[in-house]
């Protein structure tokens, strides 16, 4: 062999190096792709990218195998006439045919009743365009993955502090000394979090993980606190209890930056009960909170306008206003709320000893109080107080779906927000930090349409399909209080479902509740498998017919890049490109890659030409938009306005000077955030590692909820409309308004009677702990265990079983159980067992683990596949040994007093309650096959997929095909 040390890779073939943005997951790392003779030689992290700083993950480094996956779709497909949906019998058609089918159908729908077209998209990164398309079409029936993903995380914290974890903000591990992580396995900022976590540990930071399971990040925690699934709310309330009891809270922070000292009307018979007392009530025009509330001045012993100079108000206490109205401070109500939530109380619920809970509280409080950081950064707050320094209490938190994916998640997450505020860690060094465009006003300005009249033939929707209700009048319901949207988002059942409720679309459309639709278009979501609950029946609904023999969901369009389970149920399949073949933007209008220190967005620029006839979905939407003559896609003469997606990105303005990309705006590219279109914008992104990053002046980088400089900067650059302070809602008046409506004390919209007590209960202005809804309605004695899933670091949802390398790491999945569970149920490590919920059961293989709390069983998410899907052999391990937990999770709660078909979701936000399912586990009998159950008819390969496959594969860039 040639001496490896005097050989360069570049001698082997023609080498090119290109930069783009990874999309093996939603983390959006910068990648550098080396091509050799036109084929991918190597994908590495881009060292100059601020997000991943050169590192990559297991998925990112396996991009080659995704690009060359045999599961790739390459041609538009139409279900063969005369065949049944679900039989995978397709014929290849031309794009022209595909477009004319869609054009004809959609024109008709739009002219008759636009809401009969529903567009739902999964874990995509182009909601800026898909949302726009839906609005322009005029349908309210649009949403992306948020509702079935983590809307509780978004809503719980954004309604509390105007920002959140997930993709909107995060822990400042660079400066933190203590890091407490709740229910996170991998999350979206996965590479950055790993980078920071390692640095944090190396510098001696203390890391505590609270999670029923110890894997991944939790593995390297200094302390693992195994909590019973679904009970974090109780733990958080007990921590709040203990911090208040010990006086371990940051009083100054609570007074200045939260609504804690504000006075609340306690008059029981008043329609203002539970509302803040206001000293004047001007017309509230903007979506900001006027500074018209009261503190109780301890010197004058009377109510006084908040933030009055020199006033040090009471944080706790009850008082009487001059007119006799009894009032209490918000903090007083919080204190009363958690009075009973003692560590001893929480111990019984969480399984964590009271001792541990107290220690945890002290550790948090002491770290926050005694390890303060003072940065020499001068800034001015919204009340014109100058500060010489920025202070930080170095305790950082992070949380994700372990809190979010429960039907009590909204309140749990609000409790977390309050805990973080008590410790004074919001947008401060060492604590939680916002990523612009956050913080937003509470709630953010966008509102859903207010009633059925927003939907009109041949007209764009009046409002955005998704938004942030501020009070009951913002609900999207008809006069009878019934939902307008197919998924029932923004209805009285789930009023704050700010991300929609994609997980209910198929069931509702099938049942015709609230109405039947015509065309369901699914983009980048595998709703026939891992993103639906109750998968077995949902698959039947997709093929179910009415009395006339027509499909209950008449027409299903799927845009996917691979042969997923969902494709099987399409009438029309649109083959998408891969991330290496298309232009994409991670826009400020969606979820940009912003850093703590300032806004950032990024793009993808194609590395390779599209395979076969693949076409980016963006191009499909622009073509369709032009054909349907949706206003923004056509010029004055009614002809197509944008050549293609890159052209659209350059020239489309959502508002004056605001486009999809924030960098290099203005004619000469000298402006950013806001500025006229720049025809060389793509080039400039390409030159700058495919991203734009603006670093805010230091004095604008912290305390942004109340930072006058920052807020004015943000207003000036079009990030927000009002430069008003965003006080933290320890007490949520928004919630109280819904509660008042439920109590009949609200002038506007009121819930239907059968939902009154549901709304009244769950719209509590202060967080409280309740058992997840499903537990309340199913028998915990029969089903004593809770079943959850976790993200494996080396797989992205269902995408990666087609990946020859990644599938060797996770070829199938086990059910992990504490050995105690096995012993008490009579099965051994490795046995085949039945996992049964009140709803359904699956047969799977178990693996004993000491790293799981005994009341919880878990498995890796979405490893199990349907036979024949994803370009795999019908007998591949994924479908024979791998299993999908979703079969045992019901999408609706058992019928109860609030309705027969209430979604298995958080009653506030409509967040899918994936992790609430109660189960029992028992040994499969010896004569049963050692095979996953349920099984489905194997999918057949589709026209356009690679036909012949070898028993082996030896990838060598440049000569892969020839070898």
């Amino acid at each position: 062999m040639q001496d490896p040390t005097n050989r360069s890779d570049k001698e082997t073939g023609h080498v090119e190096i290109k930069n783009t943005t990874c999309y093996m997951c939603a983390c959006r790392c910068g990648i550098r792709v080396t091509l050799r003779d036109g084929e991918i030689r190597y994908i590495q992290g881009n060292p100059d990218h601020p997000l991943n700083k050169g590192v990559i993950c297991a998925k990112g480094a396996s991009g080659i195998m995704k690009q060359y996956s045999p599961a790739r779709l390459t041609k538009p497909l139409r279900r063969k006439s005369g065949t049944e949906r679900g039989d995978s019998k397709f014929e290849a058609i031309s794009w022209e045919e595909a477009f004319s089918i869609l054009e004809e159908r959609l024109l008709k729908i739009r002219a008759e009743d636009p809401k009969k077209f529903a567009l739902f998209t999964g874990r995509d990164q182009m909601q800026a365009l898909t949302g726009l398309f839906a609005k322009q079409f005029g349908t309210p029936n649009y949403a992306a993955h948020g509702g079935f993903c983590s809307v509780n995380m978004a809503a719980g914290l954004i309604y509390t502090m105007g920002g959140s974890f997930w993709e909107f903000g995060g822990p400042d591990l660079e400066r933190a000394k203590l890091f407490v992580m709740f229910g996170t396995a991998e999350d979206h900022h996965s590479n950055p979090l790993k980078i920071e976590l390692a640095k944090f540990k190396r510098k001696g930071g203390r890391f505590i993980s609270i999670n029923p399971v110890r894997t991944g990040y939790s593995a390297i925690a200094d302390k693992w606190i195994p909590i019973k699934t679904g009970t974090d709310g109780a733990l958080l309330l007990a921590l709040i209890h203990e911090l208040i009891k010990q006086g371990l809270y940051d009083r100054e922070f609570l007074v200045q930056y939260t609504n804690s000292p504000e006075l609340i009307n306690m008059a029981e018979d008043s329609t203002e009960q539970g509302m803040f007392v206001r000293f004047e009530v001007p017309e509230e025009e903007g979506c900001f909170e006027p500074q018209n509330k009261l503190w109780w001045d301890r010197k004058l012993n009377k109510a006084i306008s908040t933030h009055t100079d020199g006033v040090d108000p009471y944080l706790l206490g009850e008082f009487e206003l001059d007119d006799g109205t009894p009032v209490k401070t918000a903090f007083q109500l919080l204190k009363e709320r958690v009075e009973e939530n003692t560590p001893e109380w929480a111990e019984k619920i969480t399984g964590i000893s009271a001792e541990t809970i107290k220690k945890l509280a002290y550790e948090m409080g002491i770290t926050a109080r005694d390890h303060k950081i003072e940065l020499p950064i001068a800034w001015t707050d919204c009340w014109d107080n100058d500060h010489d320094t920025v202070t930080g209490n170095p305790i950082a938190f992070h949380a994700m779906r372990g809190l979010a994916a429960h039907s009590n998640g909204f309140h749990t997450i609000r409790a977390l927000g309050i805990l973080m505020s008590l410790l004074g860690t919001i947008d401060r060094p060492g604590g939680y930090r916002h990523r612009p465009p956050f913080p937003r006003p509470i709630p953010p300005c966008a509102k859903p349409p207010k009633g059925p009249e927003a939907v009109q033939p041949d007209t764009p929707l009046d409002g955005m399909p998704l938004g942030w209700p501020a009070d009951p009048d913002d609900l999207f319901v008809d006069d009878a209080g019934e939902p307008v949207r197919i998924d029932k988002a923004f209805s009285w059942e789930y009023p704050l479902s700010v991300h929609g409720m994609m997980h209910n679309v198929i069931t509702n459309a099938w049942r015709g509740d609230p109405y039947f639709i015509d065309t369901l278009m699914i983009f980048m979501s595998n709703m026939a498998w891992n993103s639906s609950m109750n998968v077995t029946e949902v698959r039947q609904m997709l093929t179910d017919k009415d009395d006339q023999g027509e499909y209950k969901i008449p027409f299903i369009v799927v845009c996917d890049a691979y042969q997923s389970e969902m494709v099987n149920f399409a009438d029309l399949v649109l083959p998408d490109t891969t991330y290496l073949e298309r232009h994409d933007v991670m826009s400020m209008l969606d979820r940009p890659i912003s850093e703590f220190d300032g806004p950032a967005d990024s793009v993808r620029i194609p590395i390779l030409p599209p395979k076969g006839e693949c076409k980016p979905f963006q191009e499909v939407l622009i073509e369709l938009g032009s054909r349907l003559k949706l206003p923004i896609f056509i010029d004055e003469n009614g002809s197509r306005k944008y050549k293609d997606y890159p052209d659209f990105v350059l020239n489309f303005e959502a508002g004056p000077g605001i486009g999809f990309l924030a960098g290099w705006r203005g004619k000469d590219g000298k402006k950013f955030m806001r500025g006229e279109p720049n025809q060389r914008q793509w080039e400039m992104y390409a030159k700058n590692n495919n991203m734009f990053h603006y670093e805010l002046p230091k004095s604008y980088q912290y305390m942004r909820n109340w930072n006058k400089g920052y807020l004015h900067w943000a207003r000036h650059h079009g990030l927000i409309r009002y430069a008003e302070p965003i006080l933290i809602h320890i007490y949520s008046e928004v919630m109280q308004k819904f509660r008042l409506a439920a109590q009949g004390k609200w002038d506007g919209k009121q819930p239907p009677d059968h939902l009154r007590d549901r709304v009244e209960t769950y719209f509590d202005p202060l967080p409280f702990y309740y058992e997840p809804l499903e537990w309340q309605l199913t028998d915990s004695k029969v089903y004593p265990l809770k079943a959850i899933t976790q993200r494996p670091m080396a797989m992205y949802h269902s995408w990666d079983s087609q990946n020859a390398w990644l599938r060797q790491i996770h070829t199938y999945n086990h059910l992990f159980v504490n050995p105690q569970v096995g012993i008490s149920n009579g099965f051994k490590d490795g046995d085949w067992v039945w996992l049964e919920s009140p709803h359904n059961k699956v047969r799977c293989q178990c693996r004993f683990s000491e790293a799981v709390e005994p009341g919880t069983v878990w498995t890796w998410n979405a490893i199990g596949k349907s036979s024949g899907a994803w370009g795999l052999a019908p007998d591949a391990n994924e479908s024979q040994q791998g299993f999908l937990l979703n079969h045992v999770i019901a999408e609706e709660l058992p019928p109860h007093e609030h309705g027969k078909h209430i979604s298995n979701s958080d009653p506030v936000t409509g967040q899918a309650a994936w992790f609430d399912v109660q189960v029992r586990v028992y040994k499969a009998s010896d004569d049963e096959p050692e095979q996953t159950s349920p099984q489905f008819e194997p999918m057949k390969p589709l026209p356009g997929m690679v036909k012949k496959r070898r028993k082996w594969q030896a990838y060598f860039a440049g000569i892969f095909e020839k070898k």
């Binding site: 050169g54 110890r214 944080l315 002491i366 020859a804 390398w805 060797q808 105690q820 000491e850 391990n877």
Partner: protein
């Protein structure tokens, strides 16, 4: 003489497998490739990898530690795999101590793998020769790469920088210091193979609460009048003793 090696820091490894696939990705199209896969899309896929990440559980619930454990060729200083090779295909480079296989000489007798106690050599089912971690020898000396990238693929990939690369014979190198200062150790020392790759153990940060930290004058509850003052009639030294 130089001995290049990897240091694996178990303190920060989260078991993400980035090192596993980036290794495969670099090497399959490089000097040491291809690294074939058998049944890539069928039942029981299997293939050649130079680096694997394993998971162990230590102790019993609730005192369980989960340890992620990456393992590739340890580039032993006294590699038992080298002398047994009948063809000389397996060799240890004098210049930097990297243990390599020359595929052109290898007859695929697998004997070297028998002689390695660590299970890190992999026989390529398609190519029919023995393969193993090369320490990315075709990267680390490639002058056409920027200096900062002349490191093994797995090292560059690792998000937690749990993988460090350097000369363990140079006492001043970062890796040698880490080994010295953080209790770096070798695997299966009992066989005298003297692996040059070292592992760094878990290190824990503890927090101790002193009661002084709970009873403080600056307790904010005082401001709300909530911390009880001692009763006015409680006796103090002032009341009972005054002879100083």
């Amino acid at each position: 003489m130089k001995q290049l090696a990897l240091i694996i820091d178990l303190n920060v490894c989260v078991g993400c497998h980035a090192c596993v696939t980036s290794c495969k990705e670099w090497n399959t199209s490089g000097w040491a490739g291809p690294m074939s896969d058998v049944n890539p899309y069928d039942a029981n896929p299997t293939g050649t990898f130079f680096n694997r990440v394993q998971t162990f559980e230590i102790g019993t619930f609730p005192n369980t530690e989960t340890v992620h454990f990456p393992k590739s060729c340890l580039h032993c200083e006294d590699p038992p795999c080298v002398p047994v090779c009948p063809t000389g295909a397996s060799y240890k480079r004098e210049a930097d101590g990297i243990v390599l296989v020359d595929y052109d000489k290898c007859i695929g007798c697998k004997y070297c793998s028998w002689a390695c106690p660590y299970g890190v050599r992999e026989f390529d089912q398609k190519e029919k020769v023995m393969k193993k971690c090369t320490l990315c020898v075709d990267r680390i000396y490639d002058q056409t790469l920027p200096e900062s990238e002349r490191k093994p693929a797995c090292v560059l990939a690792c998000p937690t920088s749990a993988r460090l690369f350097g000369d363990v014979h140079d006492p001043d190198s970062e890796v040698s210091q880490l080994i010295r200062e953080n209790g770096g150790y070798q695997l299966m020392p009992e066989w005298g193979t003297n692996p040059s790759n070292h592992y760094l153990p878990r290190r824990k940060t503890h927090f101790k609460i002193h009661e002084d930290e709970l009873l403080r004058v600056d307790n904010p509850l005082k401001k709300e009048g909530l911390l009880p003052e001692p009763p006015k009639d409680q006796q103090t030294l002032d009341d009972i003793y005054s002879s100083w």
